[in-house]
Symmetry: C2
Amino acid sequence: MENLSNYTFDEITVGQTAEYRKQITERDIVLFAEVSGDVNPLHLDAEFAAGTDFGERIAHGMLTGALISAALALALPGPGTVYLGQSLRFRRPVKIGDEITVQLEVVEKREDKGFVTLECRALNQDDKAVVTGTAEVMAPREKLSLPRPTLPTVTVDG
Amino acid sequence: MENLSNYTFDEITVGQTAEYRKQITERDIVLFAEVSGDVNPLHLDAEFAAGTDFGERIAHGMLTGALISAALALALPGPGTVYLGQSLRFRRPVKIGDEITVQLEVVEKREDKGFVTLECRALNQDDKAVVTGTAEVMAPREKLSLPRPTLPTVTVDG
């Protein structure tokens, strides 16, 4: 499997972009509920969700936030990035089966501190923005290429 | 187990507070890596993390963001809340075993739209702020008391 690699502060240019994709599954919603503790029935109970304005179960908004943070950590700048801040606007619901594409674009570099600002957009398969926001990170100074850690097997029963 | 209940827009007052607590375990970090895809070795590889400025494995910053979103969804306002926006500043690392307390405080209500703004602070067991920010939500209009959904069993192997 390919290594994890990064872009150093010096390599990063304003206008540089990266993408990160993930399909949201029912399993993801269960795992996010497990790790956050947010067992809201809007996410977990199909019958309850059918009676809401959303009409069906939706993913936790912050699950898409987690995909944005993963895009920063894995793609741009990648490993060695220090996460300083993030703003998020939750614009549309994410439903089970949606294909989410996170798009990152570098909009500012601050040479003095090594800070980089990125515009973040998470789009669904219809190219509609589901979450947008801005990230501020301290970009890595050192070039890294690291083996991708293997996760333990995670099983969801039922 | 107690039901999930909420505070409606009319019940919410400026200055109202709520708390939500969770200890961060190694298992949580694995689950967050699984659901987000962020397999950065800073979170997963003790040997790699020991060589960084952090000195040991740390939790994903957005995992604490997920706890803030859970506090809004479960405690204040609770079920029926629509999440509109969130800002986050990542101030200190969260390490395995840290006891995180999310504190929410209502700072503004907008009668016309039903919007509520809350200041959010996640503190560690030493009362140091690890993540701070501001949430904007649309508070529920309808009083709800719902059975707490039971999650499928999630197992991490290894």
